[in-house]
């Protein structure tokens, strides 16, 4: 497997050594994942020989041009999508929670019951599950909307609801697909700070797909950059910024330098993906 990583990332020898050192405490590992979608007899190669390891207690940000297969990779890692080739290893069958790109909230459940859904399925008693759900409803700022149905919420509120629904289950692995995509800048900053704090308290294993470079660096232990379709891992950057972090971390020179690297990496990919059209 390592050989193939080396083949894919010829100029990243020193990073691979790091990956080797981390082999011991992985929680989820995707090996040589290739995914082909077929629609109307046409095949779309969405992912090509992708390796991704989620270390126990690590925060991985995944960034790349639109349509490059980020959501697909996240879904494969959470095993709600099967790879065409390659395999997925999970250690200790971790409990996984999703924040879906388009929320996937249950329209027939109130805000409170949507949040409590995972706990209900886990067999938690009514009182306890409402208590815990209520806590998360307050944390994401939806207090007062417990009895509202999702179709009466704004886009940003739905997003926060879907974050609460995932966090309340206290998963081992949290897979988030652009959880802050539809939020306004202020709310986004607030929730980012919340996420930093929550993560630093709980140290869950997190995979976060995002379009925001700031967010990727600010939250992540490392940033995985994907190439345009067919998606491959182009670069993996370690974020050597100490914790606890805050929004002020964004003014750190190392942050700025990292951001610069990512911008030029992504710029090439995005330009190339435009050329393809």
């Amino acid at each position: 497997m390592l050989k193939s990583v080396a083949r894919m990332l010829p100029n990243l020898g020193e990073r691979i050594n790091k990956v080797t050192g981390e082999e011991q405490d992985w929680l989820v590992r995707a090996n040589q994942i290739t995914k082909v979608f077929t629609t109307n007899g046409q095949g779309i190669l969405a992912l090509e020989e992708v390796d991704l390891t989620l270390r126990q207690g690590s925060f991985t940000s995944l960034i790349g041009p639109s349509g490059c297969g980020k959501s697909t990779l996240l879904r494969i890692v959470g095993s709600i999508e099967t790879p065409s080739r390659g395999s997925l290893d999970q250690r200790q069958s971790p409990r996984i929670a999703f924040v879906f790109q388009d929320h996937a909230l249950f329209p027939w459940l109130t805000v409170l019951d949507n949040v409590a859904f995972g706990l209900k399925m886990a067999g938690i008693a009514t009182k306890e599950r409402y208590r815990r759900s209520q806590l998360w409803i307050e944390r994401v700022g939806l207090a007062g909307f417990e009895r509202t149905f999702p179709n009466a919420l704004s886009g940003g509120m739905r997003q926060r609801l879907s974050i609460a629904r995932a966090f309340v289950t206290e998963p081992d692995v949290l897979l988030m697909d652009e959880p802050m995509g539809a939020l306004d800048e202020q709310t986004r900053l607030l929730i980012q700070e919340d996420l930093i704090r929550l993560w630093e308290e709980t140290r869950k294993t997190v995979l976060l797909v995002t379009h925001s470079i700031d967010e990727a660096i600010l939250l992540g232990d490392r940033v995985v950059i994907m190439s345009r379709r067919p998606g491959r891992i182009k670069t993996i950057l370690e974020v050597d910024l100490e914790r606890p972090r805050s929004l002020h971390t964004m003014t750190d020179p190392r942050f700025v330098a990292l951001k610069d690297t990512i911008i030029s990496d992504l710029h090439d990919e995005v330009m190339a993906s435009m050329d393809l059209r």
Partner: protein
């Protein structure tokens, strides 16, 4: 209108007042139109503008209705028809919902039965009545079965469509959060297909009424359909109108009940405040 310094309370008051006003107006209009038509009818037939033998004035129809209630004919017919309708509808509908959901879930079942059912649905169910009469003889069974057949097909088709129409992402979210097998059914599949099932109930109850009336035309000596048909044969348009109006009322009441239940069971589809 009072204005406090609480804008939320103001707006709530205003919007409830507005929707109450609109509801009352709608109700008033809904009642006024038929009354006006009745008055016009009454005037036209008592001034011989239209043939009073065929279009007997509403006052006479009303008198006939009272007589038919007094001698128990109308209530008896109403009861008989309601029983045939409800038993057939509930039996056929329940089986239809069950089968439809199964067909929606299991592709092999769907492949095996869905084309067959679609073909059978295309046969007007009333056309099967003679066959049922041959099998079961003249009795309640063939009439109830005809109603059950139409209810079955309408609900089977709608329940299947309901299951099929559930957003796959919701199924995915359901199973990602631990709803598998039976729990996925109760917590995602069933609520997700309720809207389509209720569409089926609305259509089905109306069709069931059509079918029960039609069977009573040809194969009964009781019931509202029989009342209408028999009045035609005896040329008693008054009683015929009474029968027709009663059938219409049964339809309105049943549709209303379905509507009420659907509001209760699907609160998330609450009426839009803007309507």
């Amino acid at each position: 209108m009072t204005t406090s310094n609480n804008p939320i309370r103001d707006e709530i008051e205003r919007s409830t007042a507005r929707s109450r006003r609109l509801r009352q107006r709608d109700l008033a209009l809904g009642i006024t139109t038929p009354i006006v038509l009745l008055i016009l009818w009454q005037a036209a037939s008592s001034t011989n503008l239209i043939d009073a033998k065929i279009f007997t004035p509403p006052s006479k129809i009303f008198a006939t209705a009272l007589t038919l209630i007094h001698n128990g004919i109308l209530t008896h017919d109403l009861l008989i028809t309601s029983l045939r309708l409800l038993i057939g509808f509930i039996l056929g509908g329940a089986v239809g919902v069950g089968v439809g959901i199964l067909l929606g879930i299991f592709r092999t079942l769907r492949a095996a039965f869905s084309p067959l059912f679609a073909a059978l649905y295309a046969v007007p169910q009333i056309a099967v009545l003679p066959l049922l009469l041959v099998i079961f003889g003249i009795g309640e069974t063939p009439k109830i079965l005809t109603v059950a057949a139409v209810s079955f097909f309408v609900l089977e088709i709608n329940a299947m469509a309901g299951v099929r129409s559930i957003d796959p992402q919701l199924l995915e979210a359901g199973s990602a959060y631990g709803a598998k097998g039976r729990r996925l059914f109760w917590h995602v599949l069933l609520p997700g297909s309720l809207p389509a099932i209720f569409t089926g109930l609305r259509v089905g109850v109306a069709l069931a009424l059509v079918v029960v009336t039609a069977t009573e035309f040809v194969a009964a000596n009781s019931g509202l359909g029989y009342l209408v048909w028999n009045s035609w044969q005896l040329f008693e348009p008054n009683a015929m109108y009474v029968g027709l109006i009663t059938i219409a009322l049964v339809g309105v009441i049943l549709t209303g009940i379905v509507e009420l239940i659907s509001r209760r069971l699907m609160p998330w589809r609450g009426r839009n405040t803007r309507d």
